[in-house]
Amino acid sequence: MSTETPLIGNLHAAPAENPLSGARIGVVTFPGTLDDRDAARAVRLGGGTAVPLWHADESLQGVDAVVLPGGFSYGDYLRAGAIARFAPMMNKIIDAATAPSAARLPVLGICNGFQVLTESHLLPGSMVKNEHLKFLCKDQVLQVENTDTAWTSQFTADELIAVPLKNQDGQYLADPATLEALEAEGRVVFRYVGENPNGSRNGIAGITNETGNVVGLMPHPEHAVEAGYGPDDATGMRSGTDGLTIFTSVIASLAGGAQ
């Protein structure tokens, strides 16, 4: 063979084309946030500009969208995400995400960020400990069931993606009426494929709000954005970059004025 086979994949895979290079995506850091740097890196690889936002500040610094990254905000001591919900920065985000106009701030909550979104009532339901009580860390296949949100517009309908799942409190719960509404309105955005990893109702891995600008998901797309660091896939070990489409999607949505 004349071509050299890389050990862990092509580390220089070009990111998807950048429809709005320079879109400013805020990444919030709470005390106990772990994945803010990874989220910022994902924003950059997706073609945006990552803007660090501090939980105690009150200025959104004119960002076009916000990511609430994973971790254990305030140690999760009360409930996962419960104290972060009262941070000054969250008050600003809640206001901007529920603005009456069509210019609602796109917000993505990943893992602990998803928990913060439910505690903030930006998304319905809640999270409890994984059914089998184990902390999970694995590559997880998801089906993308809603491509109309600000964060999923560049996926194809029912596309299967693989991103890492790592959590303690990942079991999604909601009352039967809420679950029925989520299903009827197509607001289940991501669903677990294969064995339900944590006992989530209806295999729900991610949902959106009624206006499609707020999305929460339990697995971690920001850890699957660069060959060499993502899940294993058909092209090689650790070369999966399925998560990048989340970040290119929001930039495309902003460019199109869709949200």
Binding site: L78, A82, E119, G125, S126, E131, L133, L173
Partner: protein, 86 residues
């Protein structure tokens, strides 16, 4: 100083994984008379001064809006601690 006790429990219809884990461990230690365990939380709110009706009302609001999540938990009681504060 007087204290207000807030007790929060997971809703009955929601599986309580922590309680389930404890229930399954009890027989290993020889405690065989118990068919189930549910684990909740007790909060002790210390009050500087008298527990007025206003303070108690504030504690009730904190119990429902912050100390519990109504999707998964019920506030069982909000009461003044009637034992002498240790």
């Amino acid at each position: 100083m007087p204290r207000i006790i807030v007790e929060v429990m997971p809703k009955p219809e929601i599986l309580d994984p922590q309680g389930k884990a404890i229930a399954s461990a009890l027989p290993h230690l020889g405690f065989t008379g118990f068919s189930g365990v549910r684990q909740g939380r007790r909060f002790e709110l210390t009050v500087d001064g008298e527990v007025t009706e206003q303070v108690l009302a504030s504690a009730r609001t904190a119990a429902t809006e912050m100390l519990s999540n109504p999707v998964i938990e019920d506030v069982i009681s909000v009461r003044v601690d009637d034992e002498d504060a240790a």
